[in-house]
Protein backbone atom coordinates (compact mmCIF):
# COMPACT_ATOMS: atom_id res chain seq x y z
CA UNK A 1 0.00 0.00 0.00
CA UNK A 2 1.23 3.45 -0.80
CA UNK A 3 1.33 6.18 1.80
CA UNK A 4 -1.70 7.92 0.31
CA UNK A 5 -3.77 4.74 0.49
CA UNK A 6 -2.76 4.20 4.09
CA UNK A 7 -3.79 7.71 5.04
CA UNK A 8 -7.08 7.28 3.21
CA UNK A 9 -7.79 4.03 5.08
CA UNK A 10 -7.05 5.70 8.40
CA UNK A 11 -9.37 8.61 7.60
CA UNK A 12 -12.18 6.24 6.62
CA UNK A 13 -11.67 4.26 9.84
CA UNK A 14 -11.79 7.44 11.90
CA UNK A 15 -14.95 8.66 10.19
CA UNK A 16 -16.59 5.26 10.62
CA UNK A 17 -15.58 5.08 14.29
CA UNK A 18 -16.86 8.58 15.09
CA UNK A 19 -20.11 7.93 13.25
CA UNK A 20 -20.56 4.60 14.98
CA UNK A 21 -19.90 6.16 18.38
CA UNK A 22 -22.45 8.92 17.85
CA UNK A 23 -25.14 6.54 16.62
CA UNK A 24 -24.42 4.03 19.39
CA UNK A 25 -24.66 6.74 22.03
CA UNK A 26 -28.01 7.93 20.64
CA UNK A 27 -29.34 4.36 20.53
CA UNK A 28 -28.06 3.50 24.01
CA UNK A 29 -29.52 6.62 25.63
CA UNK A 30 -32.90 5.96 24.00
CA UNK A 31 -32.69 2.29 24.97
CA UNK A 32 -31.79 3.18 28.56
CA UNK A 33 -34.75 5.53 28.89
CA UNK A 34 -37.14 2.97 27.44
CA UNK A 35 -35.76 0.04 29.46
CA UNK A 36 -35.73 2.04 32.66
CA UNK A 37 -39.15 3.50 31.92
CA UNK A 38 -40.79 0.16 31.37
CA UNK A 39 -39.04 -1.38 34.38
CA UNK A 40 -40.47 1.39 36.51
CA UNK A 41 -43.96 0.99 34.93
CA UNK A 42 -43.61 4.20 32.93
CA UNK A 43 -43.53 4.69 29.18
CA UNK A 44 -40.25 6.56 28.82
CA UNK A 45 -39.88 9.15 26.05
CA UNK A 46 -42.85 9.11 23.71
CA UNK A 47 -43.46 12.63 22.34
CA UNK A 48 -40.62 13.42 19.91
CA UNK A 49 -40.90 11.22 16.84
CA UNK A 50 -42.59 7.79 16.70
CA UNK A 51 -42.29 6.23 20.18
CA UNK A 52 -39.93 9.05 21.13
CA UNK A 53 -37.01 7.81 19.02
CA UNK A 54 -35.95 11.35 18.22
CA UNK A 55 -35.83 12.38 21.89
CA UNK A 56 -32.07 11.88 22.18
CA UNK A 57 -31.49 13.83 18.94
CA UNK A 58 -33.56 16.68 20.36
CA UNK A 59 -31.55 16.55 23.59
CA UNK A 60 -28.27 16.65 21.69
CA UNK A 61 -29.43 19.69 19.74
CA UNK A 62 -30.53 21.39 22.94
CA UNK A 63 -27.12 20.79 24.53
CA UNK A 64 -25.46 22.16 21.43
CA UNK A 65 -27.25 25.48 21.90
CA UNK A 66 -26.22 25.90 25.53
CA UNK A 67 -23.93 28.65 26.72
CA UNK A 68 -20.42 27.47 27.58
CA UNK A 69 -19.85 28.27 31.25
CA UNK A 70 -16.55 27.87 33.11
CA UNK A 71 -16.88 28.83 36.78
CA UNK A 72 -14.72 31.77 37.83
CA UNK A 73 -13.19 29.80 40.70
CA UNK A 74 -12.25 26.81 38.54
CA UNK A 75 -8.77 25.95 37.39
CA UNK A 76 -9.45 26.89 33.76
CA UNK A 77 -7.14 24.56 31.89
CA UNK A 78 -7.66 21.53 34.08
CA UNK A 79 -11.38 22.13 33.70
CA UNK A 80 -11.11 22.35 29.91
CA UNK A 81 -8.82 19.35 29.38
CA UNK A 82 -10.74 16.91 31.62
CA UNK A 83 -13.58 16.08 29.17
CA UNK A 84 -11.05 15.81 26.33
CA UNK A 85 -9.11 13.14 28.23
CA UNK A 86 -12.22 11.16 29.14
CA UNK A 87 -13.58 11.30 25.59
CA UNK A 88 -10.25 10.60 23.90
CA UNK A 89 -9.61 7.64 26.18
CA UNK A 90 -12.90 6.04 25.19
CA UNK A 91 -12.38 6.79 21.49
CA UNK A 92 -8.89 5.28 21.58
CA UNK A 93 -10.18 2.25 23.50
CA UNK A 94 -12.91 1.84 20.91
CA UNK A 95 -10.30 1.50 18.14
CA UNK A 96 -9.21 -1.90 19.51
CA UNK A 97 -12.63 -3.54 19.34
CA UNK A 98 -12.86 -6.13 16.54
CA UNK A 99 -16.42 -6.38 15.20
CA UNK A 100 -15.59 -9.25 12.85
CA UNK A 101 -12.35 -10.98 11.78
CA UNK A 102 -11.59 -8.15 9.35
CA UNK A 103 -13.47 -5.19 10.83
CA UNK A 104 -10.97 -3.76 13.31
CA UNK A 105 -9.13 -0.44 13.30
CA UNK A 106 -6.09 -1.25 15.44
CA UNK A 107 -5.02 -4.89 15.47
CA UNK A 108 -1.83 -5.34 17.50
CA UNK A 109 -0.54 -8.45 19.22
CA UNK A 110 -1.22 -7.07 22.69
CA UNK A 111 -4.62 -5.49 21.97
CA UNK A 112 -6.32 -6.80 25.14
CA UNK A 113 -3.57 -5.38 27.33
CA UNK A 114 -3.48 -2.11 25.40
CA UNK A 115 -7.27 -1.76 25.53
CA UNK A 116 -7.35 -2.15 29.31
CA UNK A 117 -4.38 0.18 29.73
CA UNK A 118 -5.79 3.00 27.62
CA UNK A 119 -9.28 2.70 29.08
CA UNK A 120 -7.82 3.38 32.52
CA UNK A 121 -6.57 6.79 31.36
CA UNK A 122 -10.14 8.03 31.88
CA UNK A 123 -9.37 8.07 35.62
CA UNK A 124 -7.08 11.04 34.97
CA UNK A 125 -9.88 12.97 33.32
CA UNK A 126 -12.22 12.28 36.21
CA UNK A 127 -9.81 13.43 38.90
CA UNK A 128 -8.98 16.51 36.81
CA UNK A 129 -12.68 17.32 36.46
CA UNK A 130 -13.17 16.92 40.19
CA UNK A 131 -10.15 18.95 41.18
CA UNK A 132 -10.41 21.60 38.46
CA UNK A 133 -14.02 22.48 39.26
CA UNK A 134 -13.11 23.77 42.71
CA UNK A 135 -16.45 22.58 44.01
CA UNK A 136 -16.82 20.35 47.05
CA UNK A 137 -19.24 17.92 45.41
CA UNK A 138 -17.04 17.66 42.36
CA UNK A 139 -13.92 17.10 44.46
CA UNK A 140 -15.59 14.34 46.49
CA UNK A 141 -16.99 12.76 43.35
CA UNK A 142 -13.63 12.87 41.61
CA UNK A 143 -11.74 11.37 44.53
CA UNK A 144 -14.31 8.66 44.98
CA UNK A 145 -14.17 7.97 41.27
CA UNK A 146 -10.42 7.49 41.38
CA UNK A 147 -10.52 5.30 44.49
CA UNK A 148 -13.22 3.15 42.94
CA UNK A 149 -11.83 2.88 39.43
CA UNK A 150 -8.32 1.98 40.52
CA UNK A 151 -9.58 -0.53 43.09
CA UNK A 152 -11.74 -2.37 40.57
CA UNK A 153 -9.23 -2.20 37.78
CA UNK A 154 -7.10 -4.90 39.42
CA UNK A 155 -9.89 -7.53 39.59
CA UNK A 156 -10.98 -6.54 36.06
CA UNK A 157 -7.51 -7.07 34.65
CA UNK A 158 -6.98 -10.29 36.64
CA UNK A 159 -10.33 -11.75 35.58
CA UNK A 160 -9.31 -11.75 31.91
CA UNK A 161 -6.00 -13.47 32.70
CA UNK A 162 -7.62 -16.91 32.96
CA UNK A 163 -8.75 -16.55 29.36
CA UNK A 164 -5.29 -15.36 28.30
CA UNK A 165 -3.77 -18.46 29.91
CA UNK A 166 -6.15 -20.72 28.00
CA UNK A 167 -5.64 -18.89 24.72
CA UNK A 168 -1.93 -18.09 24.95
CA UNK A 169 -2.43 -14.78 23.17
CA UNK A 170 -3.35 -11.20 24.02
CA UNK A 171 -4.77 -10.51 20.58
CA UNK A 172 -8.55 -10.06 20.75
CA UNK A 173 -9.09 -11.74 17.37
CA UNK A 174 -7.08 -14.80 18.46
CA UNK A 175 -9.09 -14.94 21.66
CA UNK A 176 -12.35 -15.06 19.70
CA UNK A 177 -11.05 -17.60 17.16
CA UNK A 178 -10.11 -19.95 20.04
CA UNK A 179 -13.76 -20.04 21.15
CA UNK A 180 -15.10 -21.78 18.05
CA UNK A 181 -16.12 -24.94 19.92
CA UNK A 182 -16.80 -23.63 23.42
CA UNK A 183 -17.29 -20.14 24.76
CA UNK A 184 -14.95 -19.08 27.53
CA UNK A 185 -17.87 -18.39 29.86
CA UNK A 186 -18.18 -22.15 30.52
CA UNK A 187 -14.65 -22.92 31.78
CA UNK A 188 -14.14 -19.38 33.08
CA UNK A 189 -17.46 -18.74 34.77
CA UNK A 190 -15.82 -17.38 37.91
CA UNK A 191 -13.73 -15.07 35.74
CA UNK A 192 -16.84 -13.87 33.94
CA UNK A 193 -18.65 -13.12 37.20
CA UNK A 194 -15.68 -11.12 38.48
CA UNK A 195 -15.41 -9.37 35.14
CA UNK A 196 -19.04 -8.24 35.14
CA UNK A 197 -18.92 -6.87 38.69
CA UNK A 198 -15.59 -5.12 38.15
CA UNK A 199 -16.71 -3.77 34.78
CA UNK A 200 -19.81 -2.19 36.31
CA UNK A 201 -17.60 -0.49 38.87
CA UNK A 202 -15.07 0.57 36.27
CA UNK A 203 -17.65 2.35 34.11
CA UNK A 204 -19.25 3.89 37.23
CA UNK A 205 -22.62 2.28 36.77
CA UNK A 206 -25.17 1.36 39.41
CA UNK A 207 -24.71 -0.23 41.93
CA UNK A 208 -21.27 1.41 41.82
CA UNK A 209 -22.20 4.91 40.67
CA UNK A 210 -20.67 6.64 43.69
CA UNK A 211 -18.62 9.19 41.74
CA UNK A 212 -21.82 10.83 40.53
CA UNK A 213 -24.24 9.77 43.24
CA UNK A 214 -27.11 12.16 42.52
CA UNK A 215 -28.77 11.90 45.90
CA UNK A 216 -25.66 12.91 47.87
CA UNK A 217 -23.20 14.65 45.54
CA UNK A 218 -25.55 16.55 43.15
CA UNK A 219 -23.78 15.17 40.04
CA UNK A 220 -20.37 14.25 41.41
CA UNK A 221 -17.35 15.14 39.34
CA UNK A 222 -19.39 16.77 36.58
CA UNK A 223 -21.44 19.08 38.81
CA UNK A 224 -19.89 22.22 37.31
CA UNK A 225 -20.04 21.04 33.72
CA UNK A 226 -22.81 22.11 31.39
CA UNK A 227 -23.63 22.22 27.71
CA UNK A 228 -21.31 20.49 25.28
CA UNK A 229 -18.53 19.87 27.80
CA UNK A 230 -20.95 17.88 29.92
CA UNK A 231 -22.24 16.15 26.79
CA UNK A 232 -18.76 14.78 26.15
CA UNK A 233 -18.63 13.20 29.60
CA UNK A 234 -22.03 11.72 28.94
CA UNK A 235 -21.02 10.49 25.48
CA UNK A 236 -17.87 8.89 26.86
CA UNK A 237 -19.93 7.14 29.53
CA UNK A 238 -22.21 5.51 26.99
CA UNK A 239 -19.31 4.62 24.72
CA UNK A 240 -17.68 2.98 27.73
CA UNK A 241 -20.82 0.92 28.36
CA UNK A 242 -20.63 -0.30 24.78
CA UNK A 243 -16.89 -0.97 24.98
CA UNK A 244 -17.09 -2.96 28.20
CA UNK A 245 -20.00 -5.02 26.84
CA UNK A 246 -18.11 -5.62 23.61
CA UNK A 247 -15.05 -6.66 25.60
CA UNK A 248 -17.14 -9.07 27.66
CA UNK A 249 -18.52 -10.49 24.42
CA UNK A 250 -15.07 -10.91 22.92
CA UNK A 251 -13.36 -12.39 25.94
CA UNK A 252 -16.10 -14.54 27.44
CA UNK A 253 -19.08 -14.90 25.09
CA UNK A 254 -17.33 -16.07 21.95
CA UNK A 255 -17.39 -12.81 19.98
CA UNK A 256 -18.70 -13.35 16.45
CA UNK A 257 -18.93 -17.16 16.73
CA UNK A 258 -22.61 -17.95 16.30
CA UNK A 259 -24.69 -20.96 17.21
CA UNK A 260 -27.80 -22.66 15.70
CA UNK A 261 -28.55 -20.09 12.99
CA UNK A 262 -25.93 -18.53 10.74
CA UNK A 263 -25.72 -14.75 10.63
CA UNK A 264 -22.92 -12.48 9.46
CA UNK A 265 -20.14 -12.29 12.09
CA UNK A 266 -20.73 -8.63 12.97
CA UNK A 267 -24.43 -9.34 13.54
CA UNK A 268 -23.64 -12.04 16.12
CA UNK A 269 -21.18 -9.68 17.73
CA UNK A 270 -23.73 -6.87 18.00
CA UNK A 271 -26.48 -9.17 19.30
CA UNK A 272 -24.26 -10.49 22.09
CA UNK A 273 -22.99 -7.03 22.93
CA UNK A 274 -26.51 -5.68 23.18
CA UNK A 275 -27.53 -8.57 25.43
CA UNK A 276 -24.74 -7.52 27.81
CA UNK A 277 -25.73 -3.84 27.47
CA UNK A 278 -29.29 -4.79 28.35
CA UNK A 279 -27.94 -6.62 31.38
CA UNK A 280 -26.05 -3.49 32.46
CA UNK A 281 -29.23 -1.42 32.12
CA UNK A 282 -31.24 -4.05 33.97
CA UNK A 283 -28.84 -3.86 36.90
CA UNK A 284 -28.84 -0.07 36.58
CA UNK A 285 -32.58 0.21 37.06
CA UNK A 286 -33.02 -2.39 39.81
CA UNK A 287 -30.13 -2.18 42.28
CA UNK A 288 -29.62 0.39 45.04
CA UNK A 289 -26.26 2.09 45.39
CA UNK A 290 -23.43 0.63 47.49
CA UNK A 291 -21.95 2.56 50.38
CA UNK A 292 -18.36 3.70 49.89
CA UNK A 293 -16.98 1.33 52.56
CA UNK A 294 -18.94 -1.64 51.20
CA UNK A 295 -17.62 -0.83 47.74
CA UNK A 296 -14.01 -0.96 48.90
CA UNK A 297 -14.66 -4.16 50.89
CA UNK A 298 -16.08 -5.94 47.86
CA UNK A 299 -13.21 -4.84 45.66
CA UNK A 300 -10.25 -5.60 47.88
CA UNK A 301 -11.47 -8.35 50.18
CA UNK A 302 -13.65 -10.41 47.85
CA UNK A 303 -12.97 -9.75 44.18
CA UNK A 304 -9.17 -9.53 44.34
CA UNK A 305 -8.63 -12.84 46.24
CA UNK A 306 -11.28 -14.52 44.06
CA UNK A 307 -9.56 -13.33 40.90
CA UNK A 308 -6.22 -14.69 42.11
CA UNK A 309 -7.91 -17.96 43.03
CA UNK A 310 -9.38 -18.11 39.53
CA UNK A 311 -5.93 -17.75 37.99
CA UNK A 312 -4.45 -20.43 40.25
CA UNK A 313 -7.33 -22.83 39.52
CA UNK A 314 -7.10 -22.23 35.78
CA UNK A 315 -3.36 -22.90 35.86
CA UNK A 316 -3.79 -26.05 37.92
CA UNK A 317 -6.53 -27.44 35.68
CA UNK A 318 -4.57 -26.74 32.49
CA UNK A 319 -1.45 -28.42 33.92
CA UNK A 320 -3.41 -31.43 35.17
CA UNK A 321 -5.23 -31.93 31.86
CA UNK A 322 -2.02 -31.76 29.90
CA UNK A 323 -0.37 -34.21 32.29
CA UNK A 324 2.39 -31.81 33.29
CA UNK A 325 2.15 -32.43 37.04
CA UNK A 326 1.75 -36.20 37.40
Amino acid sequence: MSLLQTILVIIIELAAALGFIMVTALILIYMLRKVMGHMQARLGPIRVGPHGVLQTVADALKLFGKEDIIPAAADKWTFRIAPAIVFTASLATFSFIPFAPNIVAVNVDISLFFLLAISSLAVLGIVMAGWGSNNKYALLGGLRGVAQMISYEIPLVLSTLGVVMMTGSLNLIDIVEKQKTMYNIVPQFLGFAIFIVAALAKINRTPFDLPEAESELVAGYNTEYSGMRWAFFFLAEFVNIFIISALGTIVFLGGWNGFLISLPPWAWFMIKSYVLIFFVMWVWSTFPRFRADQLMDVGWKILLPLALLNIALTGLVILLREGRIF
Partner: protein, 122 residues
Protein backbone atom coordinates in the same frame (compact mmCIF):
# COMPACT_ATOMS: atom_id res chain seq x y z
CA UNK B 1 4.78 -7.02 8.12
CA UNK B 2 6.82 -4.20 9.62
CA UNK B 3 4.71 -1.62 7.76
CA UNK B 4 1.57 -3.32 9.12
CA UNK B 5 2.93 -3.14 12.61
CA UNK B 6 3.56 0.59 12.44
CA UNK B 7 0.30 1.26 10.61
CA UNK B 8 -1.61 -0.03 13.61
CA UNK B 9 0.15 2.27 16.03
CA UNK B 10 -0.19 5.23 13.66
CA UNK B 11 -3.92 4.51 13.48
CA UNK B 12 -4.06 4.50 17.27
CA UNK B 13 -2.25 7.84 17.36
CA UNK B 14 -4.69 9.18 14.77
CA UNK B 15 -7.60 8.10 16.98
CA UNK B 16 -6.13 9.92 19.97
CA UNK B 17 -5.49 13.10 17.97
CA UNK B 18 -8.95 12.93 16.43
CA UNK B 19 -10.52 12.73 19.86
CA UNK B 20 -8.85 16.00 20.83
CA UNK B 21 -9.52 17.73 17.50
CA UNK B 22 -13.13 16.60 17.34
CA UNK B 23 -13.86 17.89 20.83
CA UNK B 24 -12.23 21.24 20.12
CA UNK B 25 -14.11 21.52 16.84
CA UNK B 26 -17.48 20.82 18.43
CA UNK B 27 -16.80 23.29 21.24
CA UNK B 28 -15.77 25.89 18.64
CA UNK B 29 -18.97 25.36 16.61
CA UNK B 30 -20.93 25.48 19.83
CA UNK B 31 -19.39 28.86 20.58
CA UNK B 32 -20.64 30.17 17.25
CA UNK B 33 -24.19 28.92 17.81
CA UNK B 34 -24.72 29.30 21.55
CA UNK B 35 -25.85 32.55 23.18
CA UNK B 36 -23.32 34.50 25.20
CA UNK B 37 -24.56 36.54 28.12
CA UNK B 38 -21.89 36.63 30.81
CA UNK B 39 -23.26 37.85 34.15
CA UNK B 40 -21.15 37.32 37.29
CA UNK B 41 -23.75 35.14 39.05
CA UNK B 42 -23.43 32.52 36.32
CA UNK B 43 -19.79 31.96 37.11
CA UNK B 44 -20.13 31.23 40.80
CA UNK B 45 -19.46 27.74 42.08
CA UNK B 46 -22.58 25.63 42.59
CA UNK B 47 -23.44 24.96 46.19
CA UNK B 48 -27.15 24.12 46.31
CA UNK B 49 -28.15 27.77 46.02
CA UNK B 50 -26.02 29.09 48.89
CA UNK B 51 -23.21 31.55 48.41
CA UNK B 52 -20.15 29.29 48.15
CA UNK B 53 -17.73 29.49 51.06
CA UNK B 54 -14.00 29.08 50.65
CA UNK B 55 -11.88 27.19 48.18
CA UNK B 56 -11.89 23.41 47.92
CA UNK B 57 -8.29 22.90 46.98
CA UNK B 58 -7.53 21.94 50.51
CA UNK B 59 -6.96 18.82 52.59
CA UNK B 60 -8.76 15.62 51.85
CA UNK B 61 -8.76 12.33 53.64
CA UNK B 62 -5.56 10.26 53.64
CA UNK B 63 -7.47 7.04 52.81
CA UNK B 64 -7.43 7.91 49.10
CA UNK B 65 -3.66 8.04 49.23
CA UNK B 66 -3.42 4.65 50.91
CA UNK B 67 -5.62 3.02 48.30
CA UNK B 68 -3.54 4.62 45.56
CA UNK B 69 -0.40 3.09 47.10
CA UNK B 70 -2.01 -0.35 47.32
CA UNK B 71 -3.13 0.05 43.72
CA UNK B 72 0.42 0.70 42.53
CA UNK B 73 1.72 -2.42 44.26
CA UNK B 74 -0.94 -4.73 42.89
CA UNK B 75 -1.01 -3.17 39.46
CA UNK B 76 2.67 -3.90 39.02
CA UNK B 77 1.93 -7.46 40.13
CA UNK B 78 -0.73 -7.81 37.44
CA UNK B 79 1.54 -6.31 34.78
CA UNK B 80 4.08 -9.06 35.56
CA UNK B 81 1.32 -11.64 35.23
CA UNK B 82 0.48 -10.78 31.62
CA UNK B 83 3.62 -12.07 29.86
CA UNK B 84 3.53 -15.09 32.15
CA UNK B 85 -0.08 -15.87 31.19
CA UNK B 86 0.73 -15.68 27.48
CA UNK B 87 3.61 -18.13 27.85
CA UNK B 88 1.87 -20.26 30.47
CA UNK B 89 1.77 -23.49 28.44
CA UNK B 90 5.41 -23.41 27.42
CA UNK B 91 6.62 -22.50 30.91
CA UNK B 92 4.70 -25.42 32.41
CA UNK B 93 4.96 -26.45 36.02
CA UNK B 94 8.11 -24.42 36.62
CA UNK B 95 6.38 -21.16 35.63
CA UNK B 96 3.32 -22.05 37.68
CA UNK B 97 5.34 -22.63 40.84
CA UNK B 98 7.38 -19.49 40.19
CA UNK B 99 4.28 -17.31 39.95
CA UNK B 100 2.78 -18.95 43.06
CA UNK B 101 5.95 -17.96 44.93
CA UNK B 102 5.72 -14.43 43.48
CA UNK B 103 2.17 -14.00 44.77
CA UNK B 104 3.04 -15.74 48.03
CA UNK B 105 5.37 -12.79 48.62
CA UNK B 106 2.94 -10.12 47.38
CA UNK B 107 -0.35 -11.39 48.78
CA UNK B 108 0.65 -11.29 52.49
CA UNK B 109 1.05 -7.55 51.87
CA UNK B 110 -2.68 -7.34 51.28
CA UNK B 111 -3.37 -9.52 54.33
CA UNK B 112 -1.11 -7.26 56.39
CA UNK B 113 -2.91 -4.14 55.16
CA UNK B 114 -6.22 -5.87 55.93
CA UNK B 115 -5.09 -6.79 59.45
CA UNK B 116 -3.78 -3.28 60.09
CA UNK B 117 -7.21 -1.91 59.21
CA UNK B 118 -5.94 0.01 56.18
CA UNK B 119 -8.68 -1.46 53.99
CA UNK B 120 -11.31 -0.11 56.34
CA UNK B 121 -13.05 2.91 54.87
CA UNK B 122 -13.66 5.12 57.88
Amino acid sequence: MVADYFNNYITLLAFILTGMVFLSLVLFLCRLVAPRNPIPDKFTTYECGMIPMGMYWSHFHVRYYIFALLFVIFKIGTVFLYPWAVLFRSLGLFGFVAIIIFWAILFPGLLYAWKKGVLKWV
